[in-house]
């Protein structure tokens, strides 16, 4: 399989330039997403000053999900290292890299499924979006994070599709940008968890 992967290496100036643009693009996107969640957070700070602010016990399943997402991030990093090694010298590493990538995808999907179960648990306990301001923010934070993560999952699916099968190709810049985004999603989640744990 390794030989089936045609590497799109930065062999011309223009390809290199485009690789840079992809990387800039993902950083710029991360900047915008950070800004959006900063807006949500400041909304929370304003809203928690009102008299109907209560307390929401974050369901324990959330912590298990957190662990899964961190593992997914680590798996992606293993894939990235294997790919880098594979491109540099040892071609067999490429295959290992793709396997790690599958791992990242499965764990990512498991996280989303886990979050869905958290929402189901809350709903079963009678806690909905509009029940109180705390639950509103919980659903908004987790929902918006999940939406952004699904974007990352789509990129992962695309990467795996491109790496598998006949005529497979590998766009290193896209791969690395997805890795950056994926790690950002884990970091963002840790931040949101901290906010929800301490504020809600």
């Amino acid at each position: 399989m390794a030989s089936a992967i045609q590497t799109r290496l930065a062999s011309t100036h223009r390809v290199a330039v485009h690789a840079d643009a992809t990387r800039s693009g993902v950083w710029v996107g991360i900047f915008a997403i950070t800004m959006s969640f900063a807006a949500f957070t400041s909304a929370l700070f304003v809203r928690q000053g009102s008299s109907d602010w209560t307390h929401l016990a974050v369901p324990p399943l959330v912590y298990a999900n957190t662990l899964i997402l961190i593992m997914s991030s680590i798996t992606f990093e293993m894939s990235r290292r294997a790919m880098a090694k594979g491109l540099e010298s040892d071609r067999s590493e490429l295959r290992i890299g793709v396997r790690w990538l599958w791992g990242a995808l499965v764990l990512g999907l498991a996280f989303v499924a886990g979050q869905y179960m958290v929402w189901r648990q809350l709903a079963a306990a009678g806690i909905y979006l509009a029940t109180n301001p705390n639950s509103s923010f919980f659903y908004v934070f987790t929902g918006m994070h999940a939406l952004h993560l699904i974007g990352g999952i789509l990129a992962l699916v695309y990467l795996i599709a491109r790496l598998s099968g006949k005529g497979a190709a590998f766009r290193q810049s896209l791969f690395e940008s997805t890795a950056i985004y994926w790690h950002f999603m884990a970091g963002l989640w840790l931040y949101l968890l901290l906010v929800m744990r301490t504020r809600l």
Partner: protein, 592 residues
């Protein structure tokens, strides 16, 4: 495995077929034109709305033929209800601010010219670029569809202040589905702008041609770059705000709706929300939005002026630094829209200081323009006239900003026509003058044909005098205590001001009619104008080094190399008094 050089992802084959060429095009030039076309549709719609409003203000009982066909409830028998006036007000503001002032100078011209001016073949992400336009287009359709639902468009203004915008149809006409459509439309618009801004930033950072250092970019490229940085952060805040608003409206949450609110004799089933939170989030976007509208115009006007005075500006760099400081300061001043909102007066003081500080870079830019004009051999044409008109509007509208920046004065003037006059001049008309300057200047490059200069001059003079006649009196009305957002004044203490209102309405009808001269000129020149040469204005930047209109991939597969700063005017060059950026000849006295 062999290394192979492959086609980079952003280079596509020229499209064939109508749909790929004109509809779902990946070409930044076509996308720029599409944005411009959308803005043109929006600006004429918005203008007709302002006509209807002005007409109703002075003849509140007059029948407007055809209006009852668009809205039976809003204009029974063709006579506008006060609520329908507010619906039109909302739509006028939303169309103009979002779909005209953001779309034309930034997304329209920026898309067409930014890649060419930095020597790139296209934007960094052409598919995102196409998506950005089509999301914006859908957003426009969603907004306009509010006219055709039974309830009509929302009455909450383009700022959609909560709780009015958040509680739903009990609060008044258009606040049911009309407001939902508004919120959905603006959310989509945010997505489109975010994609666009991301594209602009990555393109400027990474796709510049050899020799095109950041400081060699033309001022308008800088303006688009700074604007995209502002837009990225501003729309990233408006989007969450709109999502929370939608949740309050359809999912029963209480982010913006306070406890114990009784509307139409009904206690609202909401508690604890903060209407001020909406204002904070909205204006945190809203003030930077002012600069999203005006900075590209500042860039375009500088670009046109330098070309017309045939010598360098006193300092192009200081203009760039000033734009950067305006961009930076724009994040610290949103509270000056909220002096009368009931927030702590100490915060007003805190917002007042940076607001007044912004006048410093704005004044520096103006002084550089005026100082550079001194002793210049000014070429008068439609583009330079509108550029000068922009300077005039920017100063006239900006001066009233000094007053409004001070909370003690603003408290009196905020809810009056003084503010309406201020922002229409400094943000609305000024930016539109920038768009006109850009259109007359770049039309030959965009279409390959020249515009009619006589009609251009006629359009300029009527528009300049007309806009002063409309918006200067607004300031006097405001000082006399004429409140905004009222649909008629005939029966109260403002009745003595009616003659001024009549004068304004007549001026608005004439000025608006003059815009059809422009529209005629635009359409006529597009098909029957004189063919344009490559460089009709003897310009120096890269867009004048390619044919008019530029071919697919802009430079025909060649990679331009840049040798000079953008504005080598008033020098001895091989072609005349200028040296182009791509010309390898040496320029006397240029630092390399």
């Amino acid at each position: 495995m062999e290394q192979q050089s492959v086609q980079p992802a952003h280079v596509h084959a020229p499209p064939e077929g109508f749909i790929r060429k004109y509809v779902f095009s990946l070409d930044h030039k076509m996308i720029g034109k599409q944005y411009y076309g959308l803005a043109l549709t929006a600006v004429f719609t918005g203008m007709v709305l302002s006509w209807l409003m002005r007409f109703h203000l002075v003849w509140p009982n007059a029948k407007i033929p055809g209006l009852d066909i668009i809205s039976k409830a809003g204009a029974p028998g063709g006579v506008m209800t006060p609520e329908y006036y507010l619906s039109l007000l909302t739509m006028h503001g939303t169309l103009m601010v979002f779909f005209v002032l953001t779309n034309a100078p930034f997304a329209g011209f920026g898309n067409f010219f930014l890649p060419i001016q930095i020597g790139a073949e296209d934007m960094a992400f052409p598919r995102f670029n196409m998506m950005s336009f089509w999301v914006t287009f859908v957003s426009f359709v969603v907004l306009i569809s509010a006219f055709f639902i039974p309830d009509g468009p929302p009455i909450s203004g383009w700022t959609a202040y909560a709780p009015l915008s958040a509680v739903g149809k009990d609060a008044g006409p258009g606040l049911g589905w009309g407001q939902n459509l508004w919120a959905i439309s603006i959310s989509l618009f945010c997505v489109g702008q975010l994609l666009g801004s991301l594209n602009f930033i990555a393109t400027t950072l990474d796709l510049r041609a050899k020799g095109m250092t950041l400081m060699r970019m033309p001022i308008c490229t800088w303006a688009w770059f700074i604007t995209s940085c502002i837009g990225l952060l501003a729309f990233a805040v408006l989007l969450p705000a709109c999502l929370l608003l939608i949740l309050d409206r359809v999912a029963g949450t209480s982010f913006f709706i306070p406890s114990g609110l009784v509307i139409s004799d009904r206690l609202q089933n909401h508690a604890g929300g903060s209407p001020l939170l909406w204002q904070h989030l909205f204006w945190f976007f809203g003030h930077p939005e002012v600069y999203i509208a005006i900075l590209p115009a500042v860039g375009i006007v500088s670009h046109v002026l330098i070309n017309s005075i045939r010598k360098p500006l006193l300092s192009a760099r200081v203009i760039i630094y000033s734009m950067l400081s305006i961009g930076f300061l724009s994040w610290m001043v949103w509270g000056h829209h909220m002096f009368i909102s009931g927030m702590n007066p100490f915060s007003s003081l805190l917002f007042s200081f940076p607001t007044l500080t912004i006048t410093i870079p704005a004044t520096i830019i103006t002084l550089i323009w005026l100082g550079s004009l001194y002793g210049a051999n000014l070429q008068i044409n439609s583009a330079s006239l509108f550029a000068l008109g922009f300077v005039s509007m920017f100063v006239s509208g900006g001066i009233s900003g000094f007053f409004l920046a001070q909370p003690s004065i603003d408290v009196y003037l905020h809810a009056t026509y003084f503010v309406v006059g201020h922002f229409h001049m400094v943000m609305g008309v000024a930016a539109i003058f920038g768009i006109f300057a850009g259109t007359y200047f770049w039309f030959p490059k965009m279409s390959g044909r020249m515009m009619n200069e006589t009609l251009g001059a006629l359009h300029f003079w009527v528009t300049l005098i007309g806009t002063y006649c409309i918006f200067m009196p607004f300031h006097y009305l405001g000082m006399a205590g004429n409140v905004r957002r009222y649909s008629s004044f005939v029966n109260d203490f403002m009745a003595p001001l009616m003659p001024v209102h009549k004068f304004i309405t007549i001026a608005a009808l004439i000025t608006g009619a003059a815009q059809f001269i422009f529209l005629y000129n635009l359409i006529h020149s597009r098909f029957w104008g004189k063919p344009a040469p490559e460089n009709p204005w003897n310009g120096t930047s890269l867009e004048w080094s390619v044919p008019s209109p530029p071919p697919w991939n802009n430079f025909g597969g060649n990679h331009p190399v840049v040798y000079h700063d953008p504005y080598q005017y008033g020098v001895k060059g091989s072609k005349g008094d200028y040296v182009m950026q791509v010309s390898p000849e040496t320029v006397e006295g240029e630092k390399t």
